[in-house]
């Protein structure tokens, strides 16, 4: 046990988690509120990436529509809030339920297809939700809607940036813990077995379809949770939070961090935001005004990662793909 705790990767991971946990205090000490808001967004997107990793990493299912769950979670909170139901005890379960039901529907239909058809059908279903969101004129349509934050009276005030950050952080830890249990469980082994060889798992008598369906439900619920948090973070919902570019960003985070590794999505989300936040000023330093075009650098970087660094950051740190 002691051997596992003191490997460089365990140390770095622990350090990272401690840093994220202490971020509200650090932000206060240096008097910079911006780093806290970036930090909270990193934590929330890491939850979404952890949930995508459950099906993409362990299941081998390339879902290109994960932002839809974020959108559904966010819109469930926003719609209830706009109709005067502010209690988080109602909003949050309703949002998770909605995301899970949608996951069941999408998975039941799209798991019938394979390969590129699966990628495209998940993308198409996400676009469907996106257009529904932009068509909801009563809830802001394309422009989005400012909402009140969820209320947990007497328990926690989500308007307080520090408490909200700690709540998100606790939920991220829960998601990471769950993902660890999930991947080591017999269920996770069947899922990974089906990733390597679907036919053989089926021949062994495992109903692969049902295992994958359940994995999608779990991932959908966690995706919905990320959406709930994102809506509360900015007190704002808009179709942009579920555009297909966000689904692409999530895939980038998972692959960048290390696909199929428990802490991979955390590294990926962190690296994604740190790259964005440092490429802009970095390029501006090089030449005034270049920072605006940071994706000219970021795009080819993704190409290089796809071609040469498939294991992502986790493999640099010596994590094994499990």
């Amino acid at each position: 046990m002691s051997e596992r705790l003191f490997t460089p990767r365990a140390l770095i991971t622990t350090l990272l988690l401690v840093l994220l946990a202490a971020l509200p205090l650090i932000a206060q000490a240096v008097g910079d509120r911006y780093i806290l808001s970036v930090g909270t967004r990193i934590v929330i997107w890491a939850i979404a990436a952890v949930s995508l990793n459950m099906i993409l990493g362990y299941g081998g299912l390339v879902s290109f529509g994960h932002a839809a769950f974020i959108g559904i979670g966010g819109y469930a909170v926003g719609i209830l809030s706009a109709n005067g139901i502010q209690s988080g005890w109602v909003q949050w379960p309703a949002a998770l339920m909605a995301a899970t039901v949608w996951a069941a529907l999408v998975a039941a239909l799209s798991l019938r297809t394979r390969g590129v058809y699966f990628i495209m059908i998940t993308l198409a279903f996400a676009q469907l939700v996106y257009y529904l969101g932009s068509g909801l004129a009563a809830y802001g349509g394309d422009d989005g809607l400012n909402i009140g934050r969820s209320r947990f009276t007497g328990l926690i005030d989500l308007r307080d940036k520090a408490s909200f950050h700690w709540l998100c952080f606790a939920l991220l830890c829960a998601a990471l813990w769950f993902c660890g249990r999930f991947s080591r469980s017999p269920f996770g082994h069947v899922l990974r077995g089906a990733r390597s060889n679907e036919g053989r798992m089926a021949a062994l008598g495992f109903p692969v379809f049902r295992y994958r369906l359940v994995a999608c439900l779990i991932a959908g619920a966690f995706g919905g949770l990320a959406g709930v948090l994102l809506a509360n973070e900015g007190a704002y919902i808009s179709p942009a939070m579920m555009s297909w570019v966000k689904s692409g960003d999530l895939i980038v985070m998972v692959v960048l961090g290390g696909i199929g590794v428990r802490f991979g999505p955390l590294y990926g989300a962190l690296a994604f935001f740190v790259l964005e936040e440092s490429l802009k000023p970095g390029l501006d330093l090089l030449h005034k005004g270049w920072g605006e075009y940071w994706q000219i650098v970021f795009g080819p970087l993704l190409v290089i990662i796809a071609l040469h660094a498939k294991g992502g950051i986790a493999s640099l740190l010596g994590f094994r793909h499990d």
Binding site: F64, R112, A124, L128, G135, W244, P300, L302, A306
Partner: protein, 303 residues
């Protein structure tokens, strides 16, 4: 008469979508590449055309110059990046071509600036034609239908009757075999990719006077093109054509008639806001229904 005009609008949209989808379905069918950056070539075609048209002051000349330029852009993308992806799994392809989209969007912003551009309808087509007594139709849209039909026929001839088409069909069914038979497969792949880029660029520059030339213009339409090739069956030109025509008609039905039908049952303002969204949703529902019925699309090869 109104119905005829809307059907023609649907045909025109369908033909534009077919031009975009044809290149996509070829690159997938032959090179086994999921190319998300195909929409970027559509955008590049429109921007390059804008530059040449402003420079030469002639729509036709500008368009004719833009097509080879888009071909060159396509071949560069193929040689530098795409050909390294053919043997990779779909996830790598999605990631790398997603990176290409980000690259092209910011590249266009850096070269042409953040504001959109507009291409005027060429003067010789800037009038209406009486297609039937009492039915007027814009000449430019009619020209799109003529050019689109011509290119679709050309492509059908190319694939079915020429040596290049024979190689394309052979490549789609067994790549390694035709490489083993001594066909220069790298050249073939570059040509097919460039051809796809030309079709995408042509669609982009023809659509420009109707909509506008802006950053990210290829992104949303790319998803629609994917819906078309998945519904039609990946790799099938015939499938892409049938699905593109269907999507064109569905879009028009949703956009034009759905709003009227909705106004009968709901508040007019809400109805006109909801109708375009519902028409988009309709397209995805049709795709889902087709895939549930035939998981490899209408004309796709059974696995």
């Amino acid at each position: 008469m109104e119905v005829l005009i809307q059907v023609l609008n649907g045909v025109q949209l369908g033909l534009l979508m077919f031009l975009l989808a044809a290149g996509l379905t070829l690159t997938f069918g032959i090179m086994d590449l999921v190319n998300l950056a195909h929409g970027s070539l559509y955008m590049m075609g429109a921007y390059i055309a804008w530059t040449f048209i402003s420079w030469s002051d002639s729509f036709v000349l500008g368009a004719l110059l833009a097509l080879p330029a888009t071909f060159i852009v396509g071949v560069i993308v193929e040689v530098v990046i795409a050909r390294r992806l053919y043997a990779r799994d779909h996830l790598d392809q999605v990631l790398a071509t997603f990176g290409l989209i980000l690259f092209f969007n910011d590249l266009v912003r850096a070269i042409w600036g953040p504001a959109g551009k507009s291409i005027a309808v060429p003067p010789f087509l800037d009038h209406t034609i009486e297609i039937l007594p009492g039915a007027l139709y814009p000449a430019y849209r009619l020209a799109i239908i003529v050019v689109g039909t011509g290119v679709a026929l050309l492509l059908a001839w190319l694939v079915a009757r020429t040596r290049l088409g024979m190689l394309i069909r052979a490549g789609a069914s067994n790549r390694r075999m035709i490489a083993a038979l001594g066909v220069n497969i790298e050249l073939l792949f570059s040509l097919v990719f460039g051809l796809g880029a030309v079709f995408a660029g042509l669609a982009g520059l023809m659509a420009a006077p109707i909509s506008s030339v802006k950053i990210g213009m290829g992104d949303d339409i790319l998803i629609l093109a994917f819906v078309i090739i998945v519904t039609g069956g990946i790799g099938s030109i015939k499938g892409a054509f049938v699905a593109a025509m269907g999507v064109g008609q569905l879009d028009i039905v949703g956009r034009v008639y759905l709003a009227d039908w909705l106004k009968a049952v709901m508040d007019p303002a809400a109805a006109s806001a909801a109708a375009p969204a519902i028409s988009q949703v309709l397209i995805y529902i049709v795709m889902a229904a087709v895939l549930v019925w035939r998981p490899t699309g209408l004309f796709g090869q059974r696995q």
